[in-house]
């Protein structure tokens, strides 16, 4: 994991030297920070990475200034949706390992007790994880249903690859 702090004076210098759009990346974790980076560097946009891991609400805060924290139900619902979509994308076997880091990211930040995260990490299948999440935040079920009704599954929207993955192109 990368750690350190960004020196946006360098970003500002780069922006002054080139005539292509520059995206400033590094330590953008809040709307105040994003606006200050955009103002000081004159970059076209900011990039958020670690700040958005398990925390899409940070994006909402940065773009719209929407500061309300998500409820537990909302957090659990987004995580359930994320688990389902990732399993569809990667398959259960890869997804169950891949998702483990996301449990900590979503459930941390004071949203759920640490023990609960530990408990999820012990579970074998993503089905069990989903059941446990919905049991922990019962209201999440309705939110998941609503989200799934509103948002089409990635499976319906994903384009076929123009090459066969078997036998080469």
């Amino acid at each position: 994991m990368y750690t350190g702090t960004a020196d946006h004076a360098l970003t500002a210098e780069l922006v002054s030297l080139v005539d292509v759009p520059v995206v400033a990346s590094g330590d953008v974790t809040s709307r105040a920070r994003a606006q200050s980076v955009l103002a000081t560097t004159r970059a076209e946009a900011v990039m958020v990475g670690r700040g958005a891991q398990g925390n899409p609400w940070a994006l909402r805060e940065i773009v719209d200034g929407e500061t309300t924290e998500p409820t537990r139900e909302e957090v659990a619902a987004e995580l359930v949706l994320f688990v389902r979509e990732t399993v569809r994308e990667l398959g259960e076997r890869r997804a169950s390992g891949f998702l483990k880091k996301f449990y900590g990211w979503y459930l941390g930040r004071g949203r759920f007790p640490k023990e609960f995260k530990q408990e999820l990490l012990q579970l074998d299948s993503t089905d069990e994880v989903e059941r446990r999440l919905l049991a922990a935040a019962p209201g999440a079920f309705e939110i998941v249903e609503r989200l799934e009704a509103e948002i089409p599954s990635g499976a319906e929207l994903t384009l076929e690859l123009p090459v066969s993955i078997y036998g080469g192109g």
Partner: protein
């Protein structure tokens, strides 16, 4: 001092109303109190210095008596400069009362109704002014500077186990009060219009389709894929090609490539275009440790590093395959690499 531990997890969630007064309580650590609370026999309140440790904001609601406003406030006053703070609080209440009474008295003596008695809504306004005082910077309930409070989504920025690293960054924010930039403004990268000024970063092992689509829903204007190996695309590696699956609601989308052979990189870029991505993003060196593991991922950055200063009109030409001091071709690399046989994914696949 006695300590009791209550698992907040056994209790149903209670949503807190939001508003000035509750926000200010929460930021002082009350509403987000740890499962562990300390009671002192004398105060029967919460030791604020300790209450910020933990995780659950609803736990404070579990002990309604303990977080009774007045009781807590008095306990706090004792912790701080009791006399001064208390006087200030009393003074605020008195001033507001006087203001209200004045308005009322003036109303009764004013036949022409230039100063009518405050209506119900005005009473509410006046009462809210008291709450504004509670929410102000120098109020006793606020130990933290206001900028960290308005920092929004996350109530606290500590991380003990390092599991949520974004909060460990302690850069003091710079302030530019005049700068009000609309992040909902569209901008362009060449022909691609990006609807907001926020880009979701390409992150290896994170930026899967679910992550990108979620990011789009929450306001990211441009999303990026994980880094995709050009060699993997060249060999039609099944797992690599899986990274190229694009959903139609992800646009605009950048797919990130890494590689060192110009030829396969050009082919991979064409492939990225064919799968429907809007932007080809080339990884010229990234801070992740894995970047070095097989010697190829950072190769473009190293290879071109020495040539950057004299970039001119011929920059493009230099990238052409087989040109100048191109990195070693695949066959040469395989010959140079000591343990190339044991790696399933990077083994060259015969494609016919």
């Amino acid at each position: 001092m006695t300590t009791s531990t209550v698992s907040p997890f056994l209790r149903p969630m209670i949503a807190l109303p939001t508003g000035d007064s509750f926000e200010s309580l929460r930021s002082a650590g009350f509403a987000s109190a740890d499962p562990t609370m300390k009671y002192s026999g004398r105060l029967l309140g919460i030791d604020v210095a300790e209450a910020d440790d933990g995780t659950d904001r609803d736990d404070a609601r579990v002990h309604p008596l303990l977080v009774d406003d007045l009781g807590v406030r008095e306990a706090l006053l004792e912790l701080r400069d009791a006399v001064l703070e208390h006087h200030l609080l009393v003074l605020r209440v008195v001033v507001l009362r006087v203001l209200r009474d004045l308005a009322e008295l003036a109303g009764s003596r004013d036949a022409l109704r230039y100063f009518p008695a405050p209506g119900r809504s005005q009473h509410v306004q006046l009462a809210r002014q008291l709450l504004v005082a509670l929410g102000s910077e120098d109020h006793i309930l606020h130990k933290t500077p206001p900028e960290t409070r308005s920092g929004a989504c996350r109530p606290r920025q500590r991380s003990r186990n390092g599991s949520y690293p974004a909060t460990t960054v302690k850069t003091p924010p710079e302030y530019h009060p005049t700068a009000v930039i609309d992040l909902r403004e569209a901008w362009r990268i060449g022909p691609v219009e990006v609807p907001t000024r926020l880009v979701l970063a390409p992150m290896a092992g994170v930026s899967v389709q679910a992550f990108r689509r979620q990011g789009r829903r929450y306001g990211a204007g441009l999303v990026c894929s994980e880094m995709v190996s050009c060699a993997g695309i060249e060999h039609r590696n099944e797992k690599t090609l899986g990274y190229l699956r694009v959903a139609s609601d992800e646009h605009p989308l950048a797919i990130q490539l890494f590689g060192s052979d110009p030829g396969p990189m050009a082919d991979a870029a064409r492939m990225v275009e064919a799968v429907g991505a809007d932007i080809v993003d080339v990884n010229f060196g990234c801070p992740v440790k894995e970047g070095d593991e097989d010697g190829r991922r950072r190769a473009p950055a190293r290879g071109s590093g020495s040539r950057v200063p004299d970039r001119g009109g011929d920059r493009r030409r230099r990238r052409r395959p087989g040109d100048g001091e191109a990195p070693p071709r695949r066959a040469e690399r395989l010959a140079l690499r000591p343990s190339s046989s044991g790696r399933g994914s990077s083994r060259p696949v015969r494609r016919h």
